[in-house]
């Protein structure tokens, strides 16, 4: 419950940064916030009250004691993809800065929305 609220707030704050902020590094930071929010949301969808992680580390654990493993597997993939996108975005930012010597998207003519 509170996880949903936290995750959706993160997503909204991230989208706010992407829409309103002018600085490109800020925008990329907003993207990482969105990623975290989505990841929290997906993991919390797989959570079951009072159950534990899906790892059979000791023999007493049975399948009934465990949370849903699929969202966790999906989030693992999503996190790595998020890092890849962030890294690429920042290298694009460096390229733009080399070219225009500014990070403000309003000052870059070609980036009209």
């Amino acid at each position: 419950m509170i996880y949903y609220i936290a995750a959706i707030s993160l997503i909204l704050i991230g989208i706010y940064a992407v829409l309103v902020k002018k600085n490109m590094v800020k925008i990329v930071l907003g993207l990482t916030l969105i990623d975290s929010g989505v990841n929290i949301l997906i993991v919390s969808l797989g959570y079951i009250q009072g159950k534990t992680a899906p790892i059979f580390s000791n023999p007493t654990l049975t399948a009934q004691d465990m949370v849903d493993p699929v969202p966790q597997a999906l989030v693992l993939t999503a996190i790595v993809i998020g890092v890849a996108v962030t890294a690429l975005a920042l290298s694009i930012v460096i390229r733009i800065y080399d070219h225009h010597k500014t990070l403000n998207i309003n000052k870059i003519r070609e980036l009209k929305w």
Binding site: V85, L88, I92
Partner: protein, 490 residues
């Protein structure tokens, strides 16, 4: 005789992993790798065609039957789109051989190979999260390729594309999360079975999120801000690949979503309206463009609007027309882009005004451009005519006369701006100071292949339509798809 279809995705990845060591041995060899690998894909798809037309070919991966593991589902639609993608990829790879000389060119070829592989994976896979992963492969390689050249504003276009693309992937992930939370599965066929029992409010929200996400790749109306910049700033072959590969994969995802997975009648009208708005706004913008490639980009968006109209009709003949339009667009738009690339290069300017008289200086190149322009306008014997004719007549038959009229109006605008360019090419005196050079043979071969296919498709449309009919049937009747996927486990 075909090999296991999973090789179509495994081999490109394998080749991409091996390109760096290969580049250290010989830089010259690298550029032939994409030709070879995508050529293999093309062969696979042609060989699979007779099989998949009868009954979808299901390929399980990691030996787990569909609901558990990921599977590739190669039905008629997937097969045809993969064929188109491989064909365009193959042609563009040939064109690339002599195109990219700038360092580090082995990375360029690698990224292009992965772009094609990702799009192929998107149309073949039967699992919705896997589709997301392949979408990311496609779009990340597109971002990098858009920014590849240093001498233009590719980086800005790439940043814009990346922002919109990331928001799209956020929406898609949220949609997938909602679907998984309510149906408990990620297999598209099983989702299609279970979506009926889901609370309609959740299902509609998931649909909206997913349509928004995939609509961005498919250049749907409010979401296509990335397209003109990316098309015009990317290297020429990549602009061609956007039109022929990336957008096709996006439209496939959209079609799969609204036809197979979800079952809401309301969404079709929405897509119809989105299509007509996309068409009109794109054509209006295209006529105002001064740069040749930007004009082509807007025209491409307009064409996708027409496809969306056809898909929104949700009738057999309409969908057939839409698929035919997609096929035409996939063949003609790369042709236009590839020839326009050299036209722009030789005239030394991106603007349409500076194209004057290129028809006399470079007759063959200009002929290809003019041929493509006529084909996409739909002059009667060429292939664009048939698809437009089918879509418009079907729209009228379904009673959307106003939409048909608007679409016709859009076509007329399209005719105006294409003919304007063609007129300038042939009926104006050439400028001073053109640095005309020899056009590489590989580029001419690439354009020639596309032109010949367009010509054949125009003269014998039934030759293509034979294969499109089962594909349309697959979209409209999802039971075959669902049954064949879920039976694979038994």
């Amino acid at each position: 005789m075909y090999l296991d279809p999973v090789l179509m995705i495994a081999l490109p990845l394998f080749a991409a992993f091996l390109i760096p060591p290969l580049a250290r041995i010989s830089k010259g060899l690298v550029k032939y790798v994409p030709v070879l690998i995508i050529g293999f894909n093309l062969y696979e798809m042609v060989m699979l065609l007779p099989h998949s037309m009868v009954k979808p070919v299901i390929v399980v991966i990691a030996a787990w039957a569909p609901p558990l593991g990921i599977n590739l589902t190669i039905g008629p639609l997937g097969n045809i789109l993969a064929l188109i993608i491989s064909l365009v990829g193959f042609v563009v790879a040939i064109y690339n051989i002599r195109f990219m000389e700038e360092e580090p060119n082995e990375k360029y070829h690698m990224l292009f190979l992965l772009l094609t592989a990702g799009a192929t994976g998107m149309v073949l896979t039967g699992d919705i999260f896997n589709m997301f992963v392949f979408l990311e492969i496609t779009s990340i390689s597109s971002y990098a390729l858009t920014a590849f050249l240093r001498d233009r504003d590719g980086a800005e276009a790439a940043f814009k594309y990346l922002l919109i693309g990331s928001l799209a992937s956020t929406f898609i992930l949220l949609g997938i999360a909602l679907i998984y939370a309510t149906t408990g599965t990620l297999n598209m066929a099983q989702i299609a079975v279970r979506i009926k029992d889901v609370d309609p409010r959740i299902a509609i929200m998931a649909l909206i999120l997913l349509v928004t996400g995939f609509g961005i790749e498919a250049e749907m109306f409010p979401l296509n801000g990335w397209a003109p910049d990316a098309y015009s700033q990317a290297p020429t072959p990549i602009g061609a690949a956007f039109g022929g590969i990336v957008v096709k994969a996006g439209v496939y995802a959209l079609a799969r979503l609204v036809y197979t997975i979800f079952d809401f009648q309301g969404i079709f009208h929405f897509i119809l309206i989105a299509g007509i708005i996309t068409l009109l706004i794109a054509e209006m913008s295209a006529i105002r463009q001064k740069q040749l490639k930007r004009m082509l980009a807007f025209s491409s968006i307009g064409q996708m609007g027409l496809v969306l109209i056809a898909l929104g009709l949700a009738t057999t003949r309409g969908v057939e027309g839409g698929l035919f339009q997609m096929f035409n667009h996939a063949m003609i738009k790369p042709l236009l882009f590839l020839s326009a690339g050299y036209l722009v290069f030789y005239s030394g300017s991106k603007n349409i005004e500076d194209m004057d008289g290129m028809g006399r200086v470079k007759p063959l190149l200009s002929f290809f451009f003019a041929f493509g322009a006529f084909a996409i306008l739909g002059l009667p014997p060429l292939s664009g005519f048939w698809s437009k004719f089918i879509i418009l007549s079907e729209t009228i038959r379904n009673g959307f006369i106003a939409i048909a009229a608007l679409a016709l109006f859009g076509s007329i605008i399209e005719a105006v701006y294409y003919l304007r360019v063609v007129g300038r090419l042939y009926f104006k005196a050439p400028h001073e100071g053109l640095h005309v050079q020899y056009v590489p043979k590989s580029a001419l071969v690439a354009m020639g292949i596309l032109a010949i296919i367009t010509l054949i498709a125009g003269l014998y449309p039934d030759f293509v339509m034979v294969y499109l009919k089962p594909a349309a049937a697959e979209l409209l009747d999802k039971t075959v798809y669902i049954k064949s996927v879920l039976m694979a486990g038994l």
